[in-house]
Symmetry: C2
Subunit: 308 residues, 2 copies
């Protein structure tokens, strides 16, 4: 009784196909708790889910949220609600309902997750990477920091280094805690602007697993990231803080690119323009699809064969 999965589960319902994703914000809630700021992770509940819908070309329709907590705290709930509302507006998505359970015997702190449902308007079909071929161009959409991935490692390094979250890191302004909490960028509008174009051959949300997420599109082609943009300072800083190997960085964090669009080379100009017109003026070519397997970053001598 298992339906084919990709980023999202796909299901035929009467005359429509729907996509369903489920995800939590993971251990980012622990940072939210430490800082007493819940709005950002509320917004993340939307981002982590709707970006997975975007990764199959689905338009978000509705979301349900799930909050598990130790004790009811109206201030926290209100902040999460504001974040959810902001994310839902950015994703053009409805709140369908939710579940808030006060279960001190199950959770230590708070767990925050959700499930989103999307659909394929008009004649659109799910975009699964089936159309990908050698020569396709990879376009990267920049991220807003860590999003909701790699936070277990980040928190460990922050604790070990006794880093003050109220002060900026070197080279930045504003408290580090706020920079790390920054919500997941929501890519739905730019993806919606191109999802009906047949020159779009594949879509990938770079969440947990970093650049290895590209392998989910097709295991029998290589994703050659020849033009990875300058890595944002936040990632460089955490890398030196933990003396982390580049290979681990690119398989743990989004490293500045949160979403990748693979397009036929002929579509480059039009699709870049469409992305720009829908809020992703910062989209940049980051590489190409070639014969082979896995993901490589030749400038850094990195190579990933898969998730292994």
């Amino acid at each position: 009784m298992e339906a084919p999965g990709h980023y999202a589960g796909l299901l035929r319902l009467g005359r429509e196909t729907i996509a369903v994703t489920t995800d939590t914000v993971g251990t980012k809630v622990l940072l939210a708790e430490q800082l007493g700021r819940w709005e950002e992770v509320g917004e993340d509940v939307v981002g982590v889910n709707v970006n997975d819908l975007a990764a199959v070309g689905a338009r978000p329709a509705g979301l349900v949220d799930v909050i598990l907590c130790r004790r009811p705290d109206p201030t926290t709930f209100a902040a999460i609600g504001r974040g959810l509302a902001r994310g839902l507006r950015a994703a053009d998505c409805w709140l369908l309902g939710g579940e808030t359970a006060v279960v001190p015997s199950i959770v230590r702190g708070t767990d925050l997750g959700g499930t989103a449902v999307g659909f394929f308007p008009g004649r659109r079909r799910p975009i699964t990477g089936r159309r990908l071929r050698s020569g396709d161009l990879l376009i990267g959409l920049p991220s807003h920091g860590f999003h909701a991935n790699g936070l277990t490692l980040v928190r460990r390094l922050l604790a070990r280094g006794r880093i003050d979250l109220d002060r900026p890191r070197p080279g930045s302004r504003g408290p580090l805690g706020r920079e790390i909490l920054r919500p997941t960028r929501i890519y739905c509008r730019p993806i919606e602007a191109i999802a009906d174009d047949p020159r779009v051959h594949g879509l990938a949300h770079l969440s947990g697993g970093g650049v290895r997420n590209l392998v989910r599109l097709r295991a029998d082609l290589r994703f050659s990231l020849t033009d990875w943009p300058e890595v944002p300072g936040l990632f460089d800083w955490i890398q030196s803080l933990g003396r982390i190997a580049p290979k681990e960085m690119f398989q743990t964090f989004n490293m500045g690119v949160g979403f990748v669009v693979a397009v036929a080379p002929s579509g480059r100009r039009d699709l870049m323009a469409a992305l720009a017109g829908a809020g992703a003026r910062d989209a940049v070519p980051i590489g190409t699809v070639t014969a082979g397997r896995g993901v490589d970053l030749p400038a850094l001598g990195l190579r990933y064969d898969g998730y292994g």
Copy 2:
């Protein structure tokens, strides 16, 4: 950005309406952990969600499960998977995907939940209770024990009484632990058998909140439960164990009836036959809808005005 809710969120997607529910098995996981038995609560993940779909007349289509745990345990995961599979078969529903997160910093034990999506085949419309009227007959579908509600209270009483879960309670056979773990009865097939009949005026899943769930159908009518069937021994036993007032029992547990169907009196014979033909031969009339408000059980002198 909030869609109208009832038991399930309803959403128009292209040419179809879908229903979405999200729920966890709550603290029943703690009993599963104590007994080292996970198959039953795996099946409950399906039951708690698809019965809420049935309560709006939706046919279940897909489910995603979410497991949060302290450490990965293949034996536990396999047992949960077997339970999920059994529930999905009983509900004629697909597993669309899931999320398993090992988050020892967030959970003390295991949290088990899911989200289900349903649809309205053919010309079926959601059944919300709008068609209910005074004189309608209430038909009850028996439960299989506590399902996944009231377990916090049950566990407290078991601990306080130092009750041995490996032995039967008085008047029963088989270990008490197994009796309490028995999975939520899945009502989808009988409800599917009647959901296209216009004489079905309302549907209610008696989960957390007990008989008060009926008020969710309509606040401006009274649900007079004049013929509540004999309460199963398990409920009587827990009631005496905790010296619990009848009013608390009926607002906490399903008390033997897990689902209620409100029908036009003219539909009684046909609909009872249809329910019986789809696996609910044990359905029984339990009362009527009358003028007034709230829920009453006149034989017990109980009255509920709402959830308050």
